[in-house]
Symmetry: C2
Subunit: 142 residues, 2 copies
């Protein structure tokens, strides 16, 4: 989660909502990414998506079956869907997101009967620091 | 939808589930893409995602506010989330997907109170041809 939090700080420095993510396999970091939709001109460029894509490229397949995803914010529906497609084994996340989250809020995607894969889910990891980054970012923009 | 259906045929030829998508602005096709997660080693490489990403790159921004998305299959949660993030104005799709769809099935994402953007939705466009492509693809694999 340290790498994901550092990526979130980088996102904020680039004017992006501070969210970071890392994909880990057997204790080794395969990919780390910072949220970057504005910088990259890509509405799909959330931290989780970029980390999943980079990790899949690194292992040369479209499934990350034994991998863990660490992310500083509760994933949205797009990212939760990608986590299911990638067959991520364990999802660790920091701050809850009542507005945009799709794990414990909104569509609660992994609780849907049609979901084809459910990772183990560990919320609240590094939550204090992740939430503080978001609060500071939005406070500075007001 | 013709361009999206042609892309679906190309996906099948590459051994991918036959789904195609196109992003259109003012009657002009900005991007066409075929489903390609296996070929690209990218679990997020659904046709809609690739078309949205290419269109956003083409216009140099992360919002496709006046654009329409045409896709041969009901979008999944990941793609429906991306459609909302991209602010797609109108969504036209072909075949329904009771197992993986997230528009009229499963989480019914655009009906969720927390969704931040809802496109106009037109299902069943080119449905016969889109569904036949999928049936033939899966029949050949059995």
């Amino acid at each position: 989660m340290r790498a994901a939090l550092d990526a979130a700080v980088q996102a904020a420095a680039a004017g992006e909502v501070p969210v970071g993510a890392a994909v880990v396999l057997d204790g080794r970091i395969l990919a780390v990414a910072a949220n970057a939709p504005r910088t990259r001109h890509d509405p799909t460029a959330h931290a989780e998506m970029l980390a999943i894509r980079a990790a899949a490229e690194a292992i040369g397949g479209d499934r990350l079956s034994d991998c863990d995803l660490w992310v500083t914010l509760e994933p949205c529906a797009m990212c939760a869907g990608a986590i299911a497609h990638a067959r991520i084994a364990r999802l660790y996340y920091g701050a809850s997101d009542p507005k945009g989250g799709a794990v414990e809020h909104g569509p609660r995607l992994f609780a849907q009967p049609t979901i084809h894969h459910r990772p183990e889910i560990y919320p609240g990891i590094g939550e204090g620091e992740a939430a503080a980054l978001l609060r500071e970012f939005f406070a500075a923009r007001r």
